[in-house]
Symmetry: C2
Subunit: 429 residues, 2 copies
């Protein structure tokens, strides 16, 4: 590998899980595309000593270190100061920068109609602005996108990696990224980067131990590949990173997986959602949903993609039986005889979604997410799905393990595979 990078994500809110970190994965993917290998992401709370030790840890093995967060006006935002100290550079207020940040804050306050609260509050606000304008000597300032400037801080002694300091809000961080890449100390590291390919195989229905056996059998043909297998909501992903020289070895891996698991190999490239969107788009088909237990997560996943309004007219979430009857035309007699959680109702939901929205394809989902509502006949986790389209009908009934959140995610994935299988063939859902 040519060059490595490490990432520090700061913020007690991320450490405790109240906020899901989006910056670490985003930065890791950007760096990978640039040929930089990311080996570690460290999440630390808002304590200077923890941030300092994280910088020391990552600097020992990386050519570039990046931080996100901790650049706000409150006292717990201390990244710039700690990075400056770590790099051996004293910090001082950049008066011109303070003026520029002050102007931004004034504009924001005016736009929100926010009044300054009197002289004390005014002085405290100005102090917050000046805090955000403290810059380590010799650091390069990346102009603020929100109110916080970023920094590129070279080591004072010249024997450590440069540290790129970026703001926490993902939109600010991403908008500032091109300026960070253009900084000379960062460019010098990127010049040493080497191409690193990443390809993905996706299986649906193969247990991990079966794949493990295959990988073990052909292990001596796979030199130069860094293979990761990952199970997610029932999908088994094989992600491989390799230098261009190992391209032939990667082809041997693909051949072995195809030979042993061709029947469950969903894709050798794009994920199932992308394949499904492309199939709907190229055939000019639309799809509508009728959900109970997944409560809107299936239609939300279909609509995740920009442009989805072209292929998703909409969906109904029908928790109550009345709603199933009135909005989707489910038969009262069916509900009375076999119950709402049944293959028959899944089929009527799919038909109802299709006809109510005038869609080409309809999908119905009914089940018991729990923790309550189960019975000996229909335990928590029972779910029935049905997809109806111009090419036919597919149904799937199963009992999904796990808690309410896991049930809903897994069931949505089964629903996406039911649609994929209906429209594209391949492994059944």
């Amino acid at each position: 590998m040519g060059a490595r990078a490490g990432i520090v994500v700061t913020g007690t809110e991320v450490l405790t899980g109240r906020v899901t970190d989006r910056n670490g994965p985003w930065l890791a993917e950007q760096l990978r595309r640039l040929g930089l290998d990311v080996g570690q992401v460290v999440v630390v709370g808002d304590r200077p000593e923890d941030l300092h030790s994280a910088l020391a840890y990552l600097s020992a093995t990386n050519d570039l270190v990046l931080t996100s967060g901790g650049l706000g006006p409150t006292a717990d935002d201390l990244t710039a100061q700690v990075v400056g100290d770590f790099c051996g550079r004293a910090s001082a207020v950049d008066e011109e920068l303070a003026d520029r940040i002050g102007a931004i804050v004034d504009r924001l306050m005016a736009r929100r109609g926010w009044a300054r609260g009197g002289r004390d509050q005014e002085a405290a606000t100005r102090e917050g602005t000046r805090k955000q304008a403290r810059v380590p000597a010799g650091a390069l300032v990346l102009e603020p996108v929100g109110t916080a400037p970023g920094l590129v801080v070279p080591p004072a002694q010249g024997d450590g990696p440069p540290v790129v300091v970026l703001p926490g809000p993902p939109t600010e961080l991403q908008a500032m990224w091109p300026a960070a890449l253009a900084a000379a100390p960062v460019r010098a590291v990127l010049d040493r980067a080497e191409e690193l390919r990443q390809d993905t195989l996706r299986l649906w229905g193969t247990p991990e131990f079966a794949l493990a056996a295959t990988l073990r059998r052909v292990d001596d043909q796979l030199a130069g590949l860094e293979i990761t297998t990952c199970l997610r909501d029932g999908e088994l992903e094989i992600v491989t990173r390799y230098a261009p020289a190992a391209g032939a070895a990667y082809q041997r891996l693909v051949d072995a997986v195809r030979a042993d698991f061709g029947g469950t190999l969903v894709s050798e490239g794009p994920d199932g959602d992308t394949l499904l969107a492309a199939a709907l788009g190229s055939r000019g088909l639309t799809v509508a949903t009728a959900e109970s237990c997944t409560g809107g997560q299936l239609v939300a996943r279909l609509i995740d993609r920009p442009g989805a309004s072209a292929w998703v007219p909409g969906g109904v979430v029908s928790y109550s039986n009345t709603a199933k009857q009135e909005l989707l035309g489910v038969s009262a007699q069916t509900l009375a005889t076999v119950g709402a959680v049944s293959p028959e109702v899944a089929r009527q939901l799919a038909d109802g979604a299709r006809s109510r929205f005038g869609a080409d394809v309809g999908i119905g989902v009914t089940g018991i997410a729990g923790p309550g509502g189960g019975s000996p006949d229909k335990p928590v986790g029972t779910v029935h799905l049905c997809a109806v389209g111009p090419d036919g009908v597919l149904t799937r009934s199963l009992v999904v393990p796990g808690d309410r959140a896991a049930f809903r995610k897994r069931t949505v994935t089964v629903g996406m595979h039911l649609l994929r299988s209906l429209l594209l063939g391949g492994p059944p859902a």
Copy 2:
């Protein structure tokens, strides 16, 4: 602080963001409740040297180290071996454990109808099982929940923290947790833990720099508080951790925030979703949704809570104008004159949701998530919301910044606040 813990999350899939880590936050919260302070979470890929250096980093400052993931049957799963090496304990196959894992694998294969693929595949499967049964000498085995056993590994020399090794799938990790806590080396650390309180204040509409000014002004009264402020989809959270002795200082913080920002203080305890669910439950009210641009995410969030079927009969996602008319009774004339993205249509959506589902409260959302579909009059990010209930009608129109995903999350949060404000009063949405 009495005792500290550090967490290593392994897996290239987490490092690259294909899978969102759920274990780090879950473990951090469990440990905090037990009085253990978590300072760092490190995410590393599937490379032994990176895992080894993460263990060294965390062992230097913590009394307990926990790992999640890397216990599967594939060659990239190497946590048990590396932890054993790090703790100075040689690993060997535990034959009885291998037999127990083999029996689990046989049961899984039978249940899935999965055939072993011939003698080579059979031998490779057995090798995977034996790999999972390799245990460092002197380590305590936590019985498998899936196929992977967990471990509690004390240091060979007695001068480092014990390492708790847990599986990656969250359901397995959580099911194994009580056994990990019962292990003697873990109990010994927990005995040194001290109570650490965590309380949260939530503001809606206060900019962070205004809060920063207040905190700065009263800073000398807040000794002993570790205050974190965090902005999330427009909500400003103040999370404070403190020892019981600093209880009076925390009360001073609450008083200062209440004095300066009483008008935007949503809650001094539970989050808005919890308050809303309690309000609906105690008044016996139901709520139904009609969404376009949020595409099911609003109803999905309402249904996140167990028991939601008692207060959410359902919702409609109506992307197309036809669906808005036919399923929700939006007027064709209104659509023709003011367009689908308008306060008038938001109101008709709310009324339609309320009447179609026979709900007490209806909420309608219509807007432009982008990236396409904007115009000079109605730029991308334009959104109108309306909530109608027994206590009246509330509307909100705004332009939400950010990309499609950020728009949808932020708009769902505004919708939840519109419902909270309608049912509970307090700050407007």
